[in-house]
């Protein structure tokens, strides 16, 4: 068992933290309020090779894995500037394209994803198929040498920033079970026939979500990723990375919130002593600190398992659960510690709460993780 961090990982964390700190929490809060992506931070980290850290080196990437990508997600968030698209473009899309993309697809997309120039987002959720991907109703039908996509997706993040998106669509039905056969397609963000409409959300996030209408969108057959009907397994290959990166982002948000809270509680005095001297203030922060550290441990384990090619489903789910809960507890305690200032724009904590709160719902909800753990870790009957 080895818990010491190698020097290069420490250097990676320190560098990402230093770059992201130049932007920091106030910059993030401003962008979240205005629904404006932190483009400059993304570009800067991209140039230095941190956005494409898990892209194979033969495609110009860092040749790292989820351990490294999780460090990037954690440290940007710990600097107050979480990057939601790391979960999507860098985690799911890079991992799926690397593993299942054709030689041409990899050569076309990965080098520009390695530098952060091109973002590829991910569309699975549908109005009638949220947590249940078996009910995906968007269809792809092979007509001549193109697939034609029909259907609707919603809550798709960052389509406005992306060059393309990976769309999960139904290409058939399993005869025995009656369940959908799924396939993945690389669709240009400006593909004719794909209309998008921004979803108004009251949560403050830099990234925008879209409802997408596929009205006979023609996708060349060479844009199929991997094998037709093999989509389930392929999606699953991307989902653990998304959960691990999401967990890391949660850990980072938690660290940032607790740092702000502890700084405040050390200096703010209302009864002639710092408010941090009151256990009612200190204990929620201490408890959240414990939870954040535990989540960080499970995140490290999940990333390591994934990188070793070992089953990482259980650890990734647990890490994501723990980190989302820890981030929320940390932000909540930080807001309470700040009293009225906790809600002020000057302290920028409410935008962070939006991000932490999102982590309990997406990319997979808390309840679906508990379902997974109940069924797979405890052997309990599946309830749905």
């Amino acid at each position: 068992m080895e818990f010491a961090e190698p020097a290069e990982h420490r250097a990676l964390r320190e560098t990402v933290r230093a770059v992201a700190s130049r932007f920091g929490g106030a910059h993030y809060a401003e962008h979240a309020r205005q629904s404006a992506p932190q483009e400059e931070l993304w570009r800067e980290l991209g140039k230095l090779g941190f956005i494409g850290i898990n892209v194979p080196s033969e495609h110009g990437g860092g040749g790292g894995g989820l351990v490294e990508l999780a460090a990037v997600a954690e440290e940007t968030a710990a600097a107050g500037a979480p990057l939601l698209l790391l979960l999507v473009s860098s985690a799911i899309s890079v991992e799926v394209l690397t593993r299942y993309g054709t030689v041409e697809q990899r050569a076309e997309w990965l080098p520009r994803m390695a530098t952060g120039e091109a973002k590829v987002v991910f569309a699975i959720t549908e109005p009638d198929a949220g947590s249940n991907s078996h009910r995906i109703a968007t269809t792809a039908t092979l007509e001549g040498d193109t697939y034609v996509l029909r259907g609707t997706k919603y809550y798709i993040t960052g389509v406005d920033e992306a060059e393309a998106l990976i769309v999960v669509a139904r290409t058939g039905v399993e005869e025995a079970s009656g369940q959908a056969k799924l396939s993945l397609f690389l669709v240009d963000a400006d593909a004719p026939g794909m209309r998008r409409s921004a979803i108004e959300v009251d949560a403050m996030l830099p990234e925008t979500q879209f409802e997408l209408f596929f009205d006979e969108v023609h996708v060349p057959a060479d844009r199929l990723i991997g094998e037709q009907d093999g989509g389930f397994a392929q999606v699953f290959h991307g989902l653990n990375p998304e959960r691990i990166t999401g967990a890391a982002l949660g850990v980072g948000v938690g660290r940032y919130a607790l740092e702000r809270a502890a700084d405040y509680a050390r200096v703010r005095q209302v009864w002639g002593q710092p408010i941090g001297a009151h256990q009612a203030v200190a204990h929620p922060l201490a408890k959240a600190k414990v939870e954040v550290e535990l989540a960080a441990l499970m995140t490290a384990k999940a990333a390591w398992l994934h990188d070793q090619g070992l089953p990482a489903g259980e650890a990734s789910n647990m890490a994501k659960y723990a980190a989302a809960e820890a981030a929320l507890a940390a932000v909540e305690a930080a807001i309470q510690t700040h009293g009225g200032n906790g809600l002020s724009s000057d302290y920028g904590l409410v935008p962070l709460w939006s991000m932490a709160r999102l982590m309990r719902i997406a990319p997979i909800s808390r309840e679906m993780i508990l379902n997974y753990v109940a069924q797979h870790s405890l052997g309990l009957p599946r309830s749905y």
Partner: protein, 257 residues
Amino acid sequence: MNVVVCVKQIPDPAAPGALDPQSHTLVREGKLILDDSDAYGVEMGLQLAGDAGEVTLVSMAPNQEVSGVRTALAMGAAKAIVVSDPALKGSDALSTAKVLAKAIERVGADLILAATESTDGYTGTTPVQVAELLGLPSVTFAKKVTVSDGKVRVERQTEAGFDEVECPMPCLVTVTAGVVEPRYPSFKGIMAAKSKPVDQLTVADLGLDASSVGAAGARQEITSVAAAEARGGGDIVVDEGDAHERIVQFLEQLKLV
């Protein structure tokens, strides 16, 4: 062109520092980082060395420490010499200069860069002592450095503005924080730094007599340390229509404008 950059590895200035009760010097145990003021020299060195030349780092540090040196290697320096020796404990600026000068001699540099002063010691005397020991000219407080025809041209920061100075190479130049914007290490740089050569040397390797360095060779001693005076409340300028004039007067007194 080959450039040597002297880099100091210091305790993280963000962490609370401690003084050794006996020697009154900063406790430098544990992890050290690259002194921020040296990042400017490293960047300047990388820019001046160009593709044909290379940057060699020279650092004297306790316990074979390389954390800070790795940062500079990750930025792009080619290799490093780190001098560590129990005999170096208690070194003053001159002892440090002797060690650095001996290490630099092994490299053969066209140009030696250093910061004007370190963030943890602030003596600001080591670099010029290094130059003197090497018998080289030195130029201090550079805010701009260019090289052509075997000469460096330096804009040397002064209180009033800057002097334009020309100096034949090899020479030593100390750079201020404004000289260039240091790059961040890239991920590839960080990974490459792992396998770049770091030559770990002792006082004996350098051919120095242990009695001429460290506490034994120090000509300078810190006899006592006193806490700095608590900061005063400051003057509050209440605007009665002439605040701008009073602020300007105040800044003029401090020679800031």
